[in-house]
């Protein structure tokens, strides 16, 4: 017996734990740790889709374009967050869409005057808590029915959906003989409650002349803090600080400030270029200085290229150059004649090109990374490739009907593929030689820089030009600094508690700083903008509710008992029950959370629109589910995130708003949503396989 008892699995030698830790548990770097989060795909997708619409429709880069997106995302997002909790708990609620309208109508009917007009004539102070009770009862009904009957929640809530739909129509007609139910203004206490659920912030009424200065400081400071956080998380600290590095850091910061001042004070092309050079150069000096100051230099950096990495890098640069050339040659002014020539060819070209690019990307992904121990990198590239391929297929599909289509597609495809090739080449080289990886990364940084200048000179859109230019400049700087420090400093192989803590905190402060900068830019206007006659963009209080709901849900899911129970009942209900989790109660509470969210959304809609149609909300339940799935929630339950669901809602809102903003026929919206859903489900499935089986 003792023989079998001491033998462990062959792949797991029973060595001393401390020594075994390093060998069996490779320390996961910053990016690898981020990758296993369920919401990461959604964040990448949101950034890609936003950048896409920004490039296509100018106003997506302005407050007038973003604030409507936030408004649309709010009501959708509140529901998506609640629905994602329910889905993580392993259930569906198909009545959630109809419930929003129903609960809004209930509130309005409660406050309407008694008399021939119908209604109960209550004050809002009474009506709002009463409709909350109705909401709780509705959720309790759904949950109890599902738990008692043991039927799939799909069927039970489908029934509730039709019941609610009938009630909405029936009661509206019965009580007030109208399918339009209004108005909530009649209620007592409206003046107070409209502030809570319906107030707005009109951007043009709030000027802040130093807005751009605050914005710039907040953004650059945020980026600097983020870079510092990454350094802190990725590298080994020195025993003693190096003062020379500190001097370089300070000099770099000073240089960036000077560069910004130069850029701010001029409109000339040559001074702008000079400023860009100063910012980029000093940024790299500062970042390298930061590394020298605090972190341990690596010993023995090698420099040898293997042929595969070189080929990839060469092809990558070639593709970027071709992409730039394609956009350059087919100039906006003269495009019509060129497009006439290729007009017949464009569909086959796009389809063939897309298929070829997609296939080769996947092939490369499979070949290059098959059997690679670093599976996370593999995941990065597949997710990235899938996102890029999807974006371009959609782009092609939607955009070919406009004049600039071919130019943009060629440019995007070639440049995108080029950068992917460069990144793969760097990864390839990094496995054999640290120096070679740095060299390829430097080339990548130079290509980004070239792209920045190209866009600044070629793009006709001033807004897009200046902002993209700045972003690409910072990106080139970060990649360049990364190349110079990445392999010349000792990377962390083990957790370092105080560094991890500092890095995480600094990173959070950096992100908050950037968000505050963005918010200030969105919420305030300047004299110059008013003079330019910008639209009167509004910020609605709904978005604050959305943030509040998303924050609470994220906290509950991640840090509370109830959160653990949600994952448990969705992941393995029987196990949860056996261990003592009240599974039935947890699920019922989840249904009640969804109906309370529907109550909140119903109120927000009622206060925004004043009157509600009896059909309000019908059919939206699938949008909530799509948003949750896009945000990384599994349809099968047990895995997901509330934060991801709110990002999913943003993606949905962006596509709703972006398609008309790009002046496409908005009928295409559903095709767009379908493609996004499919891509999200495939990505989720992939992550799930990894999470369940990766060792």
């Amino acid at each position: 017996m003792t023989d079998t008892a001491v033998v462990k699995e062959s792949d797991k030698p029973a060595a001393a734990p401390a020594a075994a830790d390093d060998e069996r548990l490779a320390y996961r770097g910053v990016f690898q740790r981020l990758l296993v989060r369920p919401e990461i795909g959604a964040i990448i997708g949101a950034a890609a889709i936003w950048a896409f619409f920004w490039a296509v429709a100018n106003e997506f880069g302005t407050a007038g374009g973003i604030l409507p997106v936030l408004a649309v995302s709010s009501t959708l997002g509140i529901m998506a967050v609640a629905v994602s909790l329910l889905m993580i708990g392993g259930e569906f609620d198909l009545s959630s869409g109809a419930a929003t309208g129903a609960l809004g109508i209930v509130t309005i009917l409660l406050v309407r005057d008694i008399g021939e007009l119908g209604g109960a004539g209550l004050s809002l102070w009474v009506a709002i808590p009463l409709s909350l009770v109705v909401a709780l009862a509705l959720g309790w009904f759904n949950g109890t029915m599902v738990e008692r009957t043991k039927l799939p929640s799909f069927i039970v809530t489908l029934a509730t959906f039709f019941i609610l739909r009938g009630f909405k129509l029936g009661f509206s007609k019965l009580i007030i003989d109208n399918i339009t139910v209004g108005s909530i203004e009649d209620g007592g206490g409206h003046a107070f409650w409209v502030k809570v659920f319906g107030s707005t912030w009109v951007r043009n009424d709030h000027q802040l002349e130093i807005r751009d200065a605050i914005y710039t400081i907040a953004m650059l400071g945020g980026i600097a803090l983020l870079v510092f956080a990454v350094y802190e998380l990725a590298y080994v600290r020195r025993d003693r600080l190096n003062p020379a590095g500190l001097i370089a850091l300070v000099a770099g910061i000073a240089g960036v400030v000077v560069g910004i001042l130069v850029m701010h004070g001029t409109d000339g092309v040559s001074s702008n270029t000079l400023a860009a050079a100063i910012i980029g150069g000093s940024g790299i000096v500062g970042l390298v200085g930061l590394a020298l100051w605090r972190y341990q230099p690596a010993s023995g950096v090698t420099m040898s290229f293997d042929s595969k990495a070189l080929t990839n890098a060469g092809v990558g640069i070639g593709l970027v150059v071709l992409g730039l050339l394609a956009a350059w040659q087919i100039d906006v002014q003269s495009q019509e004649s060129v497009l006439d020539l290729v007009g017949l060819l464009k569909w086959p070209l796009v389809i063939l090109g897309g298929m070829g690019a997609g296939y080769s990307l996947i092939q490369r992904g499979v070949v290059e990374f098959a059997g690679d121990s670093n599976e996370q990198v593999n995941a990065w590239f597949r997710v990235g490739a899938a996102a890029v391929a999807t974006a371009f297929v959609v782009y092609a599909f939607m955009f070919m009907t406009t004049e600039q289509g071919l130019r943009a597609i060629l440019f995007g495809l070639l440049v995108g593929a080029g950068f992917i090739m460069l990144a793969m080449a760097a990864n390839e080289a990094g496995r054999t030689s640290a120096g070679a990886k740095s060299a390829i990364q430097l080339v990548t940084a130079a290509s980004i820089l070239a792209l920045a200048f190209f866009i600044r000179d070629q793009s006709t859109s001033v807004k897009f030009r200046s902002e993209v230019f700045t972003i690409l400049l910072v990106l080139a700087m970060v990649v360049g600094a990364w190349a110079l420090t990445g392999f010349r400093f000792e990377t962390r192989k083990a957790a370092h508690l105080s560094a991890d803590k500092l890095g995480t905190r600094v990173g959070i402060v950096g992100m908050v700083s950037m968000l505050v900068g963005l918010a200030i830019k969105l919420l305030f206007t300047t004299d110059a903008e008013i003079a330019a006659g910008l639209p009167r963009a509004q910020f609605r209080v709904e978005f604050l509710w959305f943030i509040l709901v998303a924050a609470i849900a994220t906290f509950v899911l991640g840090r509370t008992k109830f959160g653990s129970w949600i994952f448990a009942v969705g992941g393995n209900k029987e196990a949860a029950r056996q261990i003592g989790v009240p599974a039935a109660r947890t699920k019922t509470q989840l249904f009640m959370i969804v109906s309370v969210a529907a109550w909140l959304v119903g109120l927000l809609l009622a206060f925004r629109l004043n009157t509600l149609q009896s059909g309000t909300g019908n059919g939206l339940e699938f949008e909530y589910i799509i948003a949750a799935v896009v945000g990384g929630t599994f349809l099968t339950g047990g895995y997901g995130s509330a934060f991801g669901a709110s990002i999913g809602a943003l993606i949905m809102a962006m596509s709703k708003q972006g398609i008309p903003a790009a002046r496409w026929n908005s009928d295409w919206r559903f095709a767009f949503l379908g493609v996004i859903l499919l891509a999200a489900v495939i990505a989720n499935n992939y992550i799930r396989t990894k999470a369940e089986s990766a060792r």
Binding site: G563, F567, A568, E574, A575, A576, I579, V581
Partner: protein
């Protein structure tokens, strides 16, 4: 030494179906009581009565001398009886530490703002697993990434940590390979050495005999006897478990069918 659990003539009926009848055995602290039986012998019913999933229909169940009947799994757990089920033990997509503390998470803060003390939970989970001799790489990793034996072991460690006096293991080795089974058997002994009364349910006498101190054999819902280890040999155990004479008959048939092979 007085028994932790004493069962006397325990029986369970589902309507007119007799699932279990006349079962008598006892469980002592620091001892492994093995319950053996073929499929359909009533092992599941036996566990479910002890774990509070079902209530017994007749006989007496005494916990530390006091007569009890558990209304729910939670109740049994609160009294110190923890069951570890073969497939249902863990939520695969959840991390090791969340699984470890599931249903009994340590919290900080004051109601209504109360949250799980993740730092404490992780370090306690890691330390408790180490005490059982289980070296988990990272308590953040999903349980789904552990091997079958490791999962059982985490479940055992969890039960031990939460003050279980009696540990019921339902077929912990049946789905495992030889080496993995060995690992689990070792953890059974580790739990025994920490003073728990272990009830080890299995249909494999070769797994039961080396670790067991007491054997109870079930057949078709009836107890075929309750033996301390020194009163029964491994061969006798195998014989009894398969129904004695029936096995002789079967062996005979097989041999003649297989040409004596």
């Amino acid at each position: 030494m007085s028994a932790l659990i004493e069962l006397e003539n325990i029986g369970k009926f589902y309507g007119n179906i007799v699932a279990l009848q006349g079962v008598t055995t006892e469980v002592h602290a620091g001892e492994v009581t093995c319950v053996l039986g073929d499929n359909g012998a009533g092992k599941s019913t036996f566990i479910k009565i002890l774990a509070g999933v079902h209530q017994h229909s007749e006989g007496t169940l005494k916990l530390e001398g006091e007569e009890v009947s558990f209304g729910s799994p939670r109740e049994a757990l609160d009294r110190g009886i923890a069951a570890v089920y073969q497939d249902l033990a863990m939520v695969p997509l959840m991390s090791v530490w969340r699984n470890f503390f599931l249903g009994a998470e340590p919290t900080k803060g004051v109601w209504p703002v109360r949250w799980v003390d993740t730092g404490k939970a992780k370090s306690v989970a890691k330390a408790e697993l180490a005490k059982m001799g289980i070296d988990i790489r990272d308590t953040e990793q999903p349980v789904g990434t552990l091997s079958g034996g490791e999962r059982q072991s985490v479940a055992i460690a969890r039960a031990v940590h939460f003050g279980a006096k009696v540990l019921i293991l339902d077929e912990p080795t049946s789905a495992l390979g030889v080496k993995q089974s060995g690992v689990v058997l070792k953890y059974i002994l580790a739990a025994r050495d920490r003073g728990l009364g272990v009830i080890f349910i299995t249909h494999n006498p070769h797994h039961a005999y080396p670790v067991g101190d007491r054997f109870m054999i079930l057949n078709r819902g009836k107890s075929m006897g309750n033996f301390p280890k020194d009163e029964i040999s491994r061969d006798e155990l195998v014989q009894m478990m398969a129904g004695g004479a029936e096995l002789d008959q079967l062996t005979h048939e097989l041999e003649s069918a297989g040409g004596g092979g």
